[in-house]
Amino acid sequence: MNDTLEIKREAQLRETARRLLEDGTVGYIIGWGTTRFEDKTAPLFAAKPEEADRLVWNEYCINSLAKYSLDDKYPEKKIGICVRGCDSRAVNRLVNDKQIERENLFLIGMPCSGKENSVCEGCSHKNPVVYDILIGEPVEENTEEKASAERFREIEEFEKMSPDERYEFWAKQYDKCIRCYACRNICPACSCKECYADQYMVGWQGKQNNRAESQVYGLTRAYHVGDRCIECGECERVCPMGLPIMRQTKKMLKDINDLFGNYECGVESERAPVLGEYDLTDRDEFM
């Protein structure tokens, strides 16, 4: 990370935030603030101009912020949100899924050259894909080769294992799952009012924590979000048990790319999810 450039960007961010709060463009701004640990930041909600200086911009700004807009779906004033590439795709996701109105948000674009987060390796959109104002100059994107080589590398490796090995791998992962639902709650593609998994009365899913129920949860979640996953990696980051959750959704994405052509979510503001449409010429392998 080019330090002086990013320090400058932080200063610009604070200045912009202050201005937006002063002139009433936004009601408050969601960004990142310090914690008591130097290598951790936490979401910060700045509502007063003087709070703008509490916003920080450094390599530890890893929390995704867009989904916080769902806490305030009908704001009186616009909500300012700092968006990196991934956050901006999350915004598109939520707009696409009719969960928020783009007009209710003021997007402060933060070109991001990667954070202390493994998912940033091979990032395909370092610069926000949608924003109202861009802080500083855009950063150089990863080459397409790098991004695409990285994108499904793990999946391809994994696919080479035998079915039993794969099952064993996942079964052990789901043995670890404590069903805290952090992966779901952080995910911008999970925006149901009431998750299927919480509907014990309907009986989709048992509440008991065991391998079988966690497997059902894991696969169902993968299927539910797989065609809309924006690949931000938050599910994996937040998992307290370290499950490689994105390897499930990415599998869906990889198959979608193989079967239906290039597909990347959250990059365009209007695109039907793959499972929300069909093509007469789709491959027919069911005979």
Partner: protein, 151 residues
Amino acid sequence: MSVEKNWEPKIIAFTCNWCTYTGADLAGLNRMKYPENVHLVRVPCSSRVNPQFILRAFQKGCDGVMVCGCHPGDCHYATGNYFTRRRFMLMKRLLEYNGIDPQRFQARWISGSEAAKFRDTMTQVTAQIRELGPNSKFQEKWYQEGGPENE
């Protein structure tokens, strides 16, 4: 896990009312014979089949699961099976990725007149699953009977 004596594969098939279910009825009318292992669940259209049903069937102890509908282009509701096709192409791959044997979940298009195809498919799938043996993957019973200590 040792194979129970007299074990018989348990196979569930979600079938569209207008095609495969009708095809199965025609097979009956023609007194065609196929194994007893296949149990049909009647749904109005294959697009009614939520992929979560498949997971549920494996979880509860089915050894094989099928989704059957009209041939693409022949859907009674015009476009339902196009959605079915997409949903299950992805779901099938996801299941296989998670270790399910490809033969344990199969989708097929069988029309109302294809009684012989229905019979042949069911016979063939039953044989394949018999060959594979009982399924323990995703199964809750496996857990209830001791879980990891079983292995």
